[in-house]
């Protein structure tokens, strides 16, 4: 059993009657990494080789938001930047408990690195108006950087908590456990704040058929670059706003390995390997 979120409802939250928490969950549609093939010639993931899904790490962020909504009352907005087909991922988010969904779609957004991605998300979040919490996953399975969350927080000028594995308290203030490799920090923060959660925080729920059917009919708001223009410097979008460039992609070489393979398990072979291990350890 996953440990349930222990939430203490503070007076402040109660007093803001009617006004519940506003939570934003940025998410990304990614190829299913178990199936996807890599095109070494083009140096690109062959996206047609696999089905697309919500980045698995983002499901934990969404689940955190939906649990807070159940405990405290909240409006959860899922937001994604991507091509039109990413609408499917947002509908999935709606089925899993998000209340509204926004897709940022424009060819001007394409080719974005983490800096341009986080900048574009920040502009859209400004356009959405206020928020109390932004919750994102620890990384994406395809990009694997873990940078978009903290960069987004910086653009919005709010603090962030990285690698949150547990929420101890959420209300007027927030208390979270951050896993920092061999050490856990218990950190207190005031709102608004961005949380980057790990897989350990919860087990994401599966949407029911009813939820899925409802989500199919729900509206997904779509914004293009033009619609963000009063909140943004368009030169910071997409490839133009991306300072990092992939120059080439290559296969790792395993040169330099001895590659001495024994095809039988006689004493001599084992003894040789044992000696090699001890030699290596000096």
């Amino acid at each position: 059993m996953p440990e349930l979120l222990k939430v203490s409802i503070t007076e402040d939250i109660n007093r803001r009657s009617g006004a519940s928490l506003r939570i934003i969950v940025p998410m990304k549609q990614v190829p299913d990494m178990r199936q996807v093939k890599f095109d070494t010639e083009k140096g690109k993931v062959d996206r047609s080789s696999a089905a697309a899904e919500i980045n698995p790490f983002d499901l934990h962020a969404l689940e955190t938001a939906v649990q807070l909504k159940e405990k405290l009352g909240a409006a959860v907005t899922a937001i994604s930047m991507g091509p039109r087909r990413a609408e499917v991922a947002l509908r999935d988010a709606l089925a899993r408990g998000a209340d509204s969904a926004v897709l940022l779609e424009d060819s001007k957004f394409a080719g974005a690195d983490t800096l341009a991605t986080s900048y574009t998300l920040a502009c859209a979040i400004r356009k959405l108006g206020g928020f109390d919490l932004i919750i994102c996953g620890e990384k994406t399975v395809d990009g694997d950087t873990g940078q978009v969350g903290p960069e987004l927080a910086e653009h919005l000028n709010i603090p962030h908590l990285a690698y949150v594995s547990k929420l101890v308290e959420a209300g007027e203030k927030l208390v979270a456990v951050c896993d920092m490799e061999g050490e856990a920090h218990i950190v207190e923060a005031s709102l608004p704040v961005l949380l980057m959660v790990t897989k350990d925080i919860n087990i994401p729920r599966l949407p029911t058929f009813r939820d899925k059917a409802m989500a199919r009919k729900a509206e997904v708001t779509i914004w293009n670059a033009e619609e963000l223009s009063s909140f943004a410097d368009p030169s910071r979008f997409g490839i133009e706003g991306s300072p990092t460039r992939v120059r080439k992609v290559f296969l790792p070489s395993e040169e330099g390995r001895k590659g001495k393979i024994f095809r039988n398990t006689n004493e001599e072979a084992i003894s040789d390997v044992a000696q090699a291990i001890l030699d290596f350890l000096g």
Binding site: M33, F38, G43, V45, T114, L115, S118, V141, D144, T145, G146, Q147, V148, G149, P150, E151, A153, E154, P159, H160, A162, Y163, V175, M180, E181, G182, E183, A184, H185, I186, V187, A189, P243, T244, R245, V246, R247, K248, V249, F250, L251, P252, E254, R257, K258, G259, I261, F262, T265, E267, A269, I270, S271, V273, A274, A276, I277, L278, F280, L281
Partner: protein, 329 residues
Amino acid sequence: MKDYAGVMVFAEQREGRIHPVTYELLGKGREIADKLGRPLSSVLLGDQLEAEARELVYHGADRVFWYDHPVLKDPDLVNYKHNIVRLVREVNPEIFLLGATRWGRSLGARIAAALGTGLTADCTGLEVDEDGSLIQIRPAFSGNVLAQIKTSTKPQMATVRYKVMSSLPRDTHRNGEIIRKQAELIPSPLTITGKERAAEADIAEAEVIVSGGAGLKRAGDFSLLAELAELLGGTVGSSRLPVDSGWIGREHQVGFSGHTVKPKVYIACGISGSPQHLAGMRESGCIIAINSDPSAPIFKIADYGIVGDLYEVVPKLIKNIKRLKRCNS
């Protein structure tokens, strides 16, 4: 034209102790700085860490920017970011490196966004090309391929994986300047109210790792691997499958979604060598593979391989190592 002042390395400290990835970055930073004919500097924030500042010089830094204040004892995100961003704007390094630890990634991303510059995550290789720009190499697509990345803005920022670069030998005759900086402190909306040490030894630190995979028949069989690991002063690792089956804790998982390790010796028992597993142990010093299938991909990256049943090979290996140890002593 701005005059760029070389390479700067963030000195990560925990409880006043310099994280070893810092020395590795200074080692690599020294090589790059020499190639560029520019200085290598380091930035250290903490509480009473003058001796540690000197250690940074002994490990290759020409200049250490040292901030000393009780508030900086803990990793205070807001104040670390604020002061480092100010320093980078003042000194103008063309390259800024951090360790790809969780703290380094979290802090590095904030600094990069504040400066509006590019950041490359989790690099395993760094080079400079003819025109002096930084070529950053990182695994992509679950470690199946390597990508070369260049950054068009300055500083060119990267987080670098622990245990990939080599540090220089400590040399107390090395000269360097320690420049004391006044920290500008701002009230932080974040407070660390407690810390807990994880009970488990960190697998990323182990010198020897004996890992088991789906070739194991039952959970209890990890004890066989533990015996071999203990004999060699090491610890036990795992591929993802035994972890998913609940046979061993997630903290033992090696690979793309587990730990990246670089022990002196890595012994893979009953592990096929999937790209996701290789992504976590490829950099190990000496790789030994034990697998009953001669076509298992793990043999392609092994220094030594034994084709056979691990239940026969591992006990024999234990026996032989004991024998050799006796002979040597």
